[in-house]
Symmetry: C2
Subunit: 330 residues, 2 copies
């Protein structure tokens, strides 16, 4: 199976291969429960804690798998990726592990902490002006000149397969606990995480509904899956859930998920900040607003989970101190 542009789509076999590559490298993140959350929602909620993953988000999985699966090119020509956040850190750390050169294209006004974290993994930064420059043109130009391995954050099949290992682990952990999910919810930007999880889990759990969770005003996934074709957001209002803001669903993830997903869920920024605060106070976990979107969607009633068994991804924890203070109302 391929996309319209003839890009191959990943399969469950690819996710299993990714799992082998990541074994002993990625953290097998815990799947935790919390009494208060169950009381609050009326469901049996299992939180997959990818905020505890290396580099603070699930993005390490996909980045590492893409480098590992294309190591000859990566070693010979280096790696290049564009990201202002979690994908940059994931790819940079993967390249550091393999001793591979990596260039990250990042907006000049990205937070210094994200630049620092990316550079401490040895990445070379190329900055651009996000209002004047064309990021994709810079990336393509550099990639063409160098021949470097280009790792797209959600279109690359090895990235989707890597993110799918979140699903494989969750399936094993649910099995060990003897529970079966009714709903699986992932924080969704381009859709790589949910597509990977769907590949990993849908055969074993044919009764489970898979849901995208998106920021209010950025619900291109919800709209696209409802319509059956990819449509972009009309506007792009600013959002604290920056980690999962994309204009349009990824082509690959949309092809994998089309006709397969349940209702698309939406959380406002205030819902996400409430979830960040709840995670801090009750779960004792540091979660970034975009990484708390799926949690927000069961706390705000977007999905009724009464008496349901639900897997919720906490997809990242890279929140700076000021944003956390804002969420906590300090």
């Amino acid at each position: 199976m391929t996309t319209q542009t003839n890009r191959p789509l990943p399969t469950l076999t690819d996710v299993r291969k990714a799992r082998e590559r990541l074994d002993g490298i990625a953290i097998r993140t815990p799947l935790i429960r919390n009494q208060r959350l169950d009381e609050l929602t009326g469901g049996q909620i299992f939180l997959k804690c990818e905020n505890l993953q290396r580099t603070g988000s699930f993005k390490f999985r996909g980045g590492y798998n893409a480098v590992a699966a294309n190591l000859d090119v990566a070693r010979a020509k280096g790696v290049i990726a564009s990201s202002s956040g979690n994908h940059a850190q994931g790819v940079a750390e993967a390249c550091q592990i393999f001793g591979v050169d990596v260039t990250i294209i990042m907006p000049a006004d990205a937070p210094q902490s994200k630049k620092d974290r990316t550079m401490r993994s040895g990445a070379k930064l190329v900055e651009f002006d996000r209002y004047r420059d064309d990021r994709d043109a810079i990336l393509d130009d550099l990639a063409t000149k160098s021949g470097a391995l280009k790792i797209h954050p959600f279109e690359h099949p090895d990235v989707i397969a890597g993110q799918g290992t979140v699903g494989l682990e969750t399936g094993e952990q649910m099995s060990e606990l003897g529970v079966v999910p009714d709903h699986v919810i992932a924080c969704t930007g381009g859709g790589g995480l949910l597509a990977g999880i769907y590949l990993a889990l849908h055969e074993n759990y044919p009764g489970a509904a898979f849901h995208t969770a998106e920021p209010f005003g950025h619900d291109d996934q919800a709209k696209s899956h409802a319509l059956g074709k990819r449509i972009a957001n009309e506007q792009a209002p600013p959002s604290v859930q920056d980690a999962i803001i994309t204009p349009l669903p990824g082509e690959a993830s949309f092809a994998l998920l089309k006709g397969q997903v349940g209702a698309g869920l939406v959380a406002t920024d205030q819902d996400a900040l409430n979830a960040v605060k709840f995670a801090f106070e009750e779960l004792k976990l540091v979660v970034e607003p975009g990484g708390a979107c799926a949690l927000a969607c069961i706390m705000n009633g977007a999905l009724n989970v009464t008496k349901k068994t639900v897997v919720v991804t906490l997809s990242g924890g890279n929140v700076d101190s000021k944003m956390m203070a804002h969420a906590l109302g300090v």
Copy 2:
């Protein structure tokens, strides 16, 4: 084996019984690793995340086990405990589970959030003036009148046995990973947690050194174990590590640990706040200053862990937003 006052001391069998009682009730908290922490310390560090336990600290284990093991008295006469913090929440939640009346003696100036959290579990609060009133006298008076089950935070043998389940789980988790600890470090006030962990682990890991971790100026455990007899701190300077401030080692835990512990470790308040900040930024975990003391003691060099395999307890996460903002420098 008993203490000088003829109180029975708990045994490994008691810890195993506690484990059975807590099965399916307490969270089997994750034992996690972090790449940055290993790089920073030069060791192979395993963090036992009791901040993710019900009520936000390991204290739930001991409180629940004490109620469960003495359920007839608890049901007939109620439960009483004195605590301004984590023990109160642990005991209150345990009593709520069993539908047992519970009274908590708490200083009138305890933070409102701790009062609220204790009351939301249905506990009755009795407030006292910590500068004028004698807390123990109030407790004894109420207990004598009511005949209630008195649950001391670290002298009660069922409490120590309950805390020991942290050790049993850690042993299983280490086993699953095929690793053997060189050092085990617990945040220590009265000593119930370390004593319980020691009971659980020392037979299987005869080569492991067990260490207390205490706030600077409150290192009564370190001094007492070095001398071979219990001695009190000469002063009691204020400390942000309030969860583990006690004037004197517990009689029971001292009897269990005497002659068995390695060097007593100490962290200043600034060390603890640095560890809280590190946990937030790198581990993505919310840890209170007292619950970060053991982590602080490997980050400040109190124990050289180069090339060692080390278990570190993160014993609690009940930190308020302002203290966290202070630790983060916001």
